[in-house]
Symmetry: C2
């Protein structure tokens, strides 16, 4: 296994220390936990916006903590849901009395553990909680680990919308409802050229032949819709764009993400973005904003995903509102 | 070859279109060229700051174009110097009358082609030019393609300093001198776990055994100081930090970059950053700022580099001045 790690059992712990060490004035680790929060949490007079999930998807989720974005995040072991205790610690650490929104991707383990945590918090405290589930993956309905659609890279837009809405001073229910409305307007489809290798196992999570790729793959290598011979960047992009546009059917302005899955050079993501923007032109859509980079990865997997969000005036305002986090900075 | 490309001969052309498509309001491609400039170039009453080099190092160099940063960049073919014609077009496209700084990494081909371009421009026009050479790689003196030290990821700091100094209104000579003074305070050392595969050849540029890594490697896979058995992330980081600190001998506050070489997951870069910041603490150095991510890559190479810059009040002001580019955004 060729990885920059020490003992694989320590990789999440050490990664989180390395993340806080990047921004010690902005981030802080809750003692004896894998919870990272804003250094100034809980932030007075503001709904707290949080997320969580397995590690291995960096910069998601803890990398989106900062002003105008997340107040905190729970990082489970690699590709493993945070425990109920972790969600409880997360909520306790950020609640300033205005309530907490917890936004997670749609995976059964994450949802089960979050529901357990919410029950405990509601029994033991008077903290108000809203949970929001991201299910932007248009590739498959029901899958390994998931009932319904999976949550994938489009969660980045959902988290940004929630962080900006809370920063504007909206109340708990409004932040949650706005985020849910955003998710309804987001579609993503992913593909992989290579599998990923987890630090603990040191082996690929699945196999792909030298000439094969998988279309519609999930964030942890869950099966997609087709395993086929590798094609050109334009053909691959077309498959992803067709899948998203058929499902989402956007009508006006759109924001897009070409997301790298961890091992993909930026050069290749730009080649994909070129074709994506051509296709949007052809479809008569106005590309209001385009992101290209690594937003939600799968360890060292080579591949990409294409996300489209059908934006309106409110979502344009929220997506372009200032935010400052390790994973994404939006200037004033 | 598993890459998101179309015809490998078109990869730079298509990548540049994809980059402009990410920010069509901020970037523009000079017709019939691989030159990208600020959309509003030439910018009146400002020294123009430019860079260039082979492609395959994204986001360097064209990804650093934007307000407070570069005015333009020339992108050669993959791992190939821009031609003299390209440097000429670059300079002509950004000069507003206050002169142009061209900052390149120390590779013989780049320097020869830039010198030829400067001679032509000086014969044919009255544009004032200053050239600045980045040579931050502490690993080796003289190497394949290079006389003296190579320029590597520390160039990111040099370009940021130059862009900010020009944005402040400094004159041509001052921008160049300030950038040279910055370069004297920057040291970098790199390593690779795997080689990189160029799109045209479709094969690794060199070979490394399953248990091997190379310490001190160059941006194009040029030999380093040692090929050895793979070690832990902490041991690897120590080798890089030792090399940089012995050479640079910083005394007070430092800014650092943990740079991924293209195929390395962000998780692993954070593990390296944790150890780097520990080592700075042990050395009694104050970590003023720390960057972790992909700043100067080598296609899909897995590995990293560690950069340290010995900052003073002026460099802190310039590095933290606002900038907005695809590859790096510094908020106000």
């Amino acid at each position: 296994m060729k990885k920059l790690v020490n003992d694989p059992e320590d990789v999440v712990d050490e990664m989180l220390d390395g993340l806080v060490a990047e921004r010690p004035d902005a981030l802080r680790r809750v003692p004896d936990s894998n919870i990272i929060v804003r250094e100034d949490a809980p932030v007075e007079n503001k709904v707290a916006v949080t997320s969580g999930g397995g590690s291995g998807h960096e910069p998601a989720f803890a990398g989106y903590i900062g002003e105008g974005f997340l107040d905190g995040a729970a990082s489970g072991e690699v590709f493993t849901s945070p425990t109920p205790d972790m969600f409880e610690t997360l909520v306790e650490s950020v609640d300033a009395g205005a309530g907490v929104v917890v936004i997670i991707n749609n995976y059964e383990g994450d949802i089960m553990n979050l529901e357990t945590a919410v029950e405990m918090i509601e029994m033991e405290t008077d903290t108000a909680i809203e949970t929001v589930i991201v299910d932007d993956d248009v590739a498959v309905e029901d899958s390994e680990y998931t009932t319904g659609r999976r949550g994938v890279a489009g969660a980045t837009f959902a988290l940004k919308v929630a962080g900006a809405k809370a920063a504007e001073g909206a109340d708990l229910e409004t932040v949650a409802e706005t985020t849910r409305a955003a998710i309804d307007r987001i579609g993503t489809m992913s593909m992989a050229l290579t599998p990923c290798v987890t630090p603990e196992k040191g082996e690929p999570t699945f196999t792909l032949g030298d000439d094969e790729m998988e279309i519609g793959i999930g964030l942890h290598g869950e099966p997609g819709v087709e395993r086929t011979e590798i094609a050109s960047a334009d053909e691959i992009t077309d498959r992803l764009v067709d899948g998203v546009l058929e499902d989402l059917d956007p009508s006006g302005e759109v924001a897009t993400i070409v997301n790298g899955t961890g091992g993909t050079p930026l050069m290749e993501l730009y080649v994909v973005n070129r074709r994506l923007q051509e296709r949007l032109d052809d479809a008569g859509l106005d590309h209001w904003d385009a992101l290209v980079g690594e937003y939600m990865t799968s360890l060292d997997m080579c591949g990409c995903s294409v996300t489209v969000m059908d934006v309106n005036e409110e979502f344009k305002r929220l997506l372009s509102a200032p935010a400052d986090s390790p994973g994404m900075t939006v200037p004033e």
